[in-house]
Structure formats: C-alpha cells, structure tokens
C-alpha cells in the first residue's frame, strides 16, 4: 500500500479546526476560529473519492478523537464513502494515553510507529491513508514515509491556530503531481515528497 495523506489547510497554513466545532471536543486555548473550511460540492466529491480508495486509516490521537466524536456517532447516511470507510476499514491510532478505544475497528499503536507504518505499507492494498493528524503527518514526512500529500487549500486566512508545517524542520522538496480549483476557490494539490534534501549549504 502506498501511504497517502490528506489535509485541509488555509492559505496561511493553518490546519486546526477546519470543520464546525464538534460537541465534546475542546480546542486548545486561544483558538476560537473553528469552521473555516467551507466545502463546495466539487471538493466534497473529491474527498469522497479519496476515502473510497482507503484500505487502512491511520490517525493521530487528537484527530481520531474528533472523528470518533463526529463521524463515529453519526448514523450511516447510506451514500457517504467517508462514513463507510471510517466505519468499516481498520483504523490505527497513534497514542500512548488511549488504551481501549470504543469505536469499532480501532487498533492502538503505542510505540515504534515508524516500523509499524513500514510494515503496513508492505501489505497488499491500495492506500494507507492519513487524514489531518498534523504531528503524526509531519513525523511521517520527515521519515520519508509519505508517498502522496493532498492539500485542500481553502481561500481563507485564519489568523490563528496550529499549522501543518512547524517553524523549524527538515528541508523537503516535492513534485506537484496535479492541481485544480473548485467553483468556490478551493484548490486541490497532490504532491509527492522527493525526500529530505538537507540544508542548502
């Protein structure tokens, strides 16, 4: 399986709180701008297609909790590839604090995540997918384990909140594979990291 990651980001690189606030989920202090990622039909269809390709899902603990409190509690709408993937495919969650998750098909990864991810990638299948999960995603990019990075860039400057890329980190070059825009100005880019290049000097 190839590892593909999908993230909703703003033009200022924020990835925190794209959706409307989820009951039971408390955002970090000082962040009150949830709900900046306004999907249109085109972007929604694209996201559906992505989830339809998933064989295995991999989450950071925080994103998992947001998904469990939202998608995990919603009844099957019958026509959502996202709901179907989240409820029927194996979900790995990287955490040292959560021991017995209640959402079905959840497997906890508590140590040596990179080895576990390498083993999953060697298994047959289409895609091992990471959605959001900023901290986990960055560590996977830095380890050279991400095969494709899809960004849904929403036409907004959020002005606060956690960003996808930290202030400091490795220098990574990417190939832009595809790019398109939707009617409301969301751009969808697919990148392939071509590896850490180290410092330019």
């Amino acid at each position: 399986m190839k590892l593909t990651a999908t993230v909703q980001v703003s033009v200022d690189g924020v990835m925190q709180g794209p959706g409307a606030p989820v009951p039971g989920i408390v955002e970090t202090a000082g962040f009150d701008r949830d709900g900046w990622a306004h999907f249109d039909t085109d972007a929604g269809v694209e996201m559906d297609k992505i989830y339809a390709r998933a064989d295995v899902l991999l989450f950071g603990r925080r994103t998992y909790e947001v998904f469990a409190a939202s998608w995990g509690t919603w009844p099957d709408p019958g026509d959502s590839p996202i709901w179907t993937a989240l409820h029927t495919k194996p979900k790995y969650v990287v955490t040292r604090t959560m021991t017995s998750p209640t959402w079905s098909n959840t497997i906890v990864l508590s140590d040596d995540v990179q080895t576990a991810v390498r083993e999953l990638k060697e298994q047959p299948g289409a895609e091992l997918q990471v959605h959001a999960s900023g901290g986990l995603l960055r560590s996977l990019i830095d380890a050279g384990l991400v095969d494709e990075l899809t960004l849904f860039t929403f036409p907004v400057v959020v002005g606060q909140g956690a960003r996808l890329f930290p202030e400091t980190g490795p220098h990574v070059a990417l190939d832009l594979l595809t790019s398109r825009s939707t009617p409301t100005g969301i751009t969808i880019q697919v990148y392939r990291p071509v590896g850490a290049t180290g410092d330019s000097d």
């Binding site: 036409p155 400057v157 890329f165 751009t187």
Partner: protein, 205 residues
C-alpha cells in the same frame, strides 16, 4: 490605482531569501535560494505580464535596498527590468534619505494616508513585490486589493513567514489559479473582508 501584491512563498509559507543564499540572512537564515530549481519560461511570462500592468511600485526599504544596487546595472529593456528602473518607486522609510536611484519617492510620514491617496489616484496598478513586513502591515489594514502568490513545491523548514501566527482573518476570492511545468502554483486571490467561522457545511463534513 489598485494595490496588488506579489509574493514568492514556499509550501510552508516562508518568504525569506527566495532568490539566493545571500539575499536575506536575517536571523541566521541559511536556506536561501529555494526558488532556484524551478525557474522556467512560463513563470517568466507570468512575471512579464504582471509587470506590464504596473504604473508604480511600493517597496519595503529592505527590498528597495536589495534592488537599488542591482537593477540599474541590469536593465534589459523588458517590462520587468526596465519597468523597475523607470517607474516611480514608493518606499515607506524614516531612514532612507535622498535616494540616488530615481524615480524613488520616500514616504516618511502618514504611510497609511499616503498609500490611500495613491490608491485613489488614477492609474492601473501600484505593485508591491516581496517586502514581507510591509505586505503584512498592508494586509492588516485591508489595503491590498489583490494578492498574487507564487507557491514553490518545497518545505523550507525555517525562515520568516508572510502570515502572522495571530492576526486578522481574511476571506479570499480565488481569481486565478495556474501551475507551471516545474510545479509552481500561481494563485491570485482578492481579499474580501473577514472570514466566516463555525458554520456547519451542508453535508456536515
């Protein structure tokens, strides 16, 4: 004139030192030159068509000081290099005095009022190139009419960023989106007030 801005950004939002290692080493930055691998004819044509619309430039002092020793020696007669040399260059600064590179106009007081007057004067585009600190200041005051971002397919991993960690939100309209063969995205956004938050989307995604 409308105020239009152009900025080269990395995928992680860095604007520092796009052109070369010694262009801007503020803060010990040593990863300059991250656009070098992606130049091509298409990007150049985009730049030419953009400079052709300029009637004046608005530059931060640091950007002006990078340009001042370079462009007078590199006037190739094209809309970029010739335009930079012959068009008025407005520079907000309290330290720059009697600039030799003409036409340069130093704005040493009431920067916001002066820029509003320039915007109200006839003409096509007052263009700001680079000048990250100035652009950030202008965005905070809702003075920018159009934001052209050239986003390079690289994570730089350090350096100054255009957008502040804490600042006003902006709703943006995407006016144009293109990519070059080397993977640079050319996005034109029009700021359109504050963003709206918290609204559940139709399908609750």
């Amino acid at each position: 004139m409308k105020l239009t801005a152009s900025m080269m950004l990395s995928l992680d939002g860095v604007y520092q030192g796009p052109g070369g290692p010694d262009e801007d080493r503020r803060g010990g930055f040593d990863r300059g030159g991250w656009t070098a691998a992606y130049g091509n004819e298409e990007g150049w044509q985009f730049l030419v068509s953009w400079f052709e619309r300029a009637d004046a430039f608005l530059l931060g002092r640091k950007t002006w000081e990078i340009w001042e020793p370079y462009w007078p020696q590199h006037d190739g007669g094209d809309p970029v290099s010739h335009g930079i040399n012959v068009l008025p260059k407005y520079v907000p600064s309290t330290t720059l005095k009697n600039p030799a590179w003409q036409p340069t106009r130093v704005i040493d007081r009431d920067v916001e009022g002066t820029i509003r007057e320039l915007k109200a004067s006839p003409g096509r585009e007052l263009q700001i190139h680079g000048s990250g600190e100035l652009l950030r200041w202008l965005l905070e005051r809702d003075l920018v009419d159009e934001l052209n971002l050239r986003i390079y397919p690289v994570i730089v991993g350090e350096g100054l960023r255009l957008f502040p960690e804490n600042g006003p939100s902006h709703n943006l309209e995407l006016v144009d989106s293109r990519t070059t063969a080397s993977g640079v995205m050319l996005q034109t956004y029009r700021p359109a007030g504050r963003a709206t938050f918290g609204r559940a989307d139709a399908d609750e995604r």
